[in-house]
Symmetry: C2
């Protein structure tokens, strides 16, 4: 495609959705990307910029001529502009803010005063309201005569004279009710407001839990300041999940479009933590050098105990981390869950102990090696179950994201306990 | 609470949202739950049943008196009834179907003929349509006179005379446009239809990617059969993510409310797979028994190489699995991503090789042990990066969910390569 044929590119890109064009830009190499942006700069609009991955967005914005960029950002709603620029470097932020008309620039700057990842950053400021004493007829007349309504809105928010939201009415209900009906009589039951400082993850949780379509955002005085719609909440939910998965695997903010240097840096810390825990496990093994020197079979079998423990621990841990994230694990069911994990560990421990006992026995022709292996397996799987639940709960209590840090702690525990139980028992029984 | 005081329970539960009551029922023990359902059965409505976890739903339905159940399911929309009963056992399904009025029963049974996890199961059959030649005025008059409209709807779907959807109009646009305007002139650009057999995960992806609020569902003849709204898509997105996270950790369909026996059974297969791979790694170690017997330090250090490889592999694998799920990893950028993973593995390998070389050297006072450890680390981290990307891609090509199976394969590769590289190099260099 990159023969410099601008017309051909135009024909190919025109029918695509902005999100797909953004994906395309992310997937091609950076040299090709620069060429494409240069040849097709007039095609890059605000929506495409919004969809781009952060790392690539900066690159593309830098490559865009001033007039294209101006036009691109002017067509966006204020919340989309906030989303677009909040992760950019200072000079690029300035460049985009400069391209906005005065009024919108002020609105964007105001939004940026709310903390990152808060409802304030997520909301749109354009709201459609009605005094709570209005009837359906008054509301419909108002809407039909309104000059400027937001692109997308699904509810009219009822406000009292002091601008406190007191309910909302769906447009569907509005259209299907008689003109004389009071708005308060057809207001939705599911009404709830969101605090402007609420964490965006909690906002997404509320939308999903209570099946909200849109929700008014209020400030500390309970005054209406904006509205969040479900599509924004869905995007947040998606991001939060993504983050959880990547954190559980010890990958910071990884994305395929990051450079090699960035990726190396993102993955280093977790590998570093893992190195420390691995060395800790090695120190445990070193205490039993004498035993291993006499019975080399122990060196052959010991990784099995540690590896089974690590896996069982990861299973328990993942379920616990998810349960914490979805608010399913609370003080009231905590001890029942702990008991359950320990019991599951015990059952699986016994099952695999029998299997491994037999394997150890046949392989090395020693009953005692089989017995030691089996016993160590039971101990380690029970400990794995307990560590898998107690560690994330403790981290959560301590204010640390359990998705981020639990893995390292749990595998440390299962490695250390696994090696210690196996080699320690062997030392006692076999020497 | 469980002193049998029904009035007190009533007072406590009444103000709660159905989703919160369902969470409460999930978190208490099963004896308490039975008591609560018995004492408060009239409070259990269809919405609460919808929100309940599958395993508990059966239990609660069984405990409900017939008249309460009948009333509970009659108040639900047909798509919610489908959602409610699709996972139930045959006799319970019959019981609920029997409680429905004839017409709705037929609709539900029709929906159940679509494959599980398809758009057909997700959609609601109640749609609001308008002939495509209508004007805004005609549409508004139609809505204002309509007898029965769905509880929630955000668009009017335009259909041609053969019932093919050709576009849709938001209620907001409808309300704010002049009566003479043709509906086709204010139709949304983002219009796209969904095939009734499309997989629900793909539906959720489309909603998230294209910022859809609702989308018409069509059959093989492109005829309109229903509509899917964003709140259902959001719930699916949530479930799919949950599934991916749990699968990556080797936990089938785990939930905190499953019994010990179920949980043990869910976790067994993955632990079994892990046992086989662990034994495979042990077989590799067994080939070097002679070397270990002579230099016990090798037994102390070998888990470090394997563990670092396992972690680096899991990192690469998780990013790859996510990229496949979000369609960010395609044929066109595949080789660039593979090259990147190998390079990242090489960089991190060299960094940790230096660290570990020094540690090995100081700890055991042998330069050669340090060198061997360092070399094995580089080899294993590069292999980990490659395995982390190539294995999920290969599984995806083979039609296996990479989230489910990649972990086992990747850790097998890194364990085997790690032990083999470290002990093999040691045998060559140190003996």
């Amino acid at each position: 495609v990159e023969t410099g044929d601008a017309a051909a590119i135009d024909a190919l890109m025109e029918p695509l959705h902005a999100a797909d064009i953004a994906d395309l830009l992310e997937q091609i190499g950076s040299a090709e990307r620069a060429d494409l942006v240069r040849l097709w700069s007039k095609g890059i609009d605000g929506e495409i910029l919004s969809e781009l991955d952060e790392s690539i967005r900066e690159e593309v914005i830098e490559a865009l001529p001033h007039d294209v960029l101006t036009e691109a950002v002017r067509e966006l709603d204020s919340d989309d502009v906030v989303d677009l620029i909040e992760d950019l470097e200072e000079p690029q932020q300035e460049r985009i803010l400069g391209a906005l008309p005065e009024g919108e620039r002020a609105a964007v700057e105001q939004s940026l005063t709310y903390p990152e990842y808060s409802a304030g950053r997520l909301m749109q400021r354009e709201v459609v309201t009605a005094p709570e004493h209005w009837t359906v007829g008054e509301a419909i007349d108002f809407l039909r005569n309104a000059k400027e309504l937001p692109d997308q809105f699904y509810h009219m928010i009822l406000v009292d004279p002091r601008w406190h939201p007191t309910g909302y009415v769906t447009l569907g209900k509005l259209l299907s009710s008689k003109r004389a009906v009071k708005l308060t009589d057809i207001a939705e039951e599911s009404f709830r407001t969101i605090d402007v400082l609420e964490e965006e993850g909690d906002v997404a949780y509320a939308f999903n839990q209570y099946h909200l379509i849109s929700a008014p955002v209020v400030d500390a005085d309970e005054r209406l300041v904006g509205v969040i719609t479900i599509d924004d909440a869905m995007a947040v939910l998606d991001e939060e999940h993504e983050e959880d998965i990547l954190r559980l695997a010890g990958v910071g903010d990884g994305s395929l479009s990051d450079s090699v240097a960035e990726t190396t840096k993102q993955r280093l810390p977790w590998l570093g933590v893992n190195l420390v825990t691995a060395i800790l496990a090695s120190v445990v093994i070193a205490q039993f050098e004498r035993v291993i020197a006499q019975i080399v079979a122990l060196a052959v079998l010991m990784p099995i105990v540690a590896s089974m423990g690590g896996n069982a621990g990861t299973q328990a841990l993942t379920v616990a981390v998810r349960a914490i994230a979805t608010r399913d694990l609370t003080g009231s069911n905590m001890w029942r869950v702990v008991r359950r994990e320990a019991t599951v560990g015990l059952f699986n421990g016994v099952i695999f102990a029998v299997v491994m006992g037999v394997v150890g026995w046949f392989w090395f022709g020693s009953t005692m090696i089989g017995v030691v292996l089996a016993a160590a397996m039971v101990v380690n799987l029970v400990v794995a179950g307990l560590a898998g639940i107690l560690i994330p709960v403790a981290l959560e209590k301590a204010g640390v994201d359990p998705a981020l840090a639990s893995g390292a702690f749990v595998t440390t525990v299962t490695d250390v306990v696994g090696f210690f139980a196996f080699l320690g028992l062997a030392a006692m029984v076999l020497l």
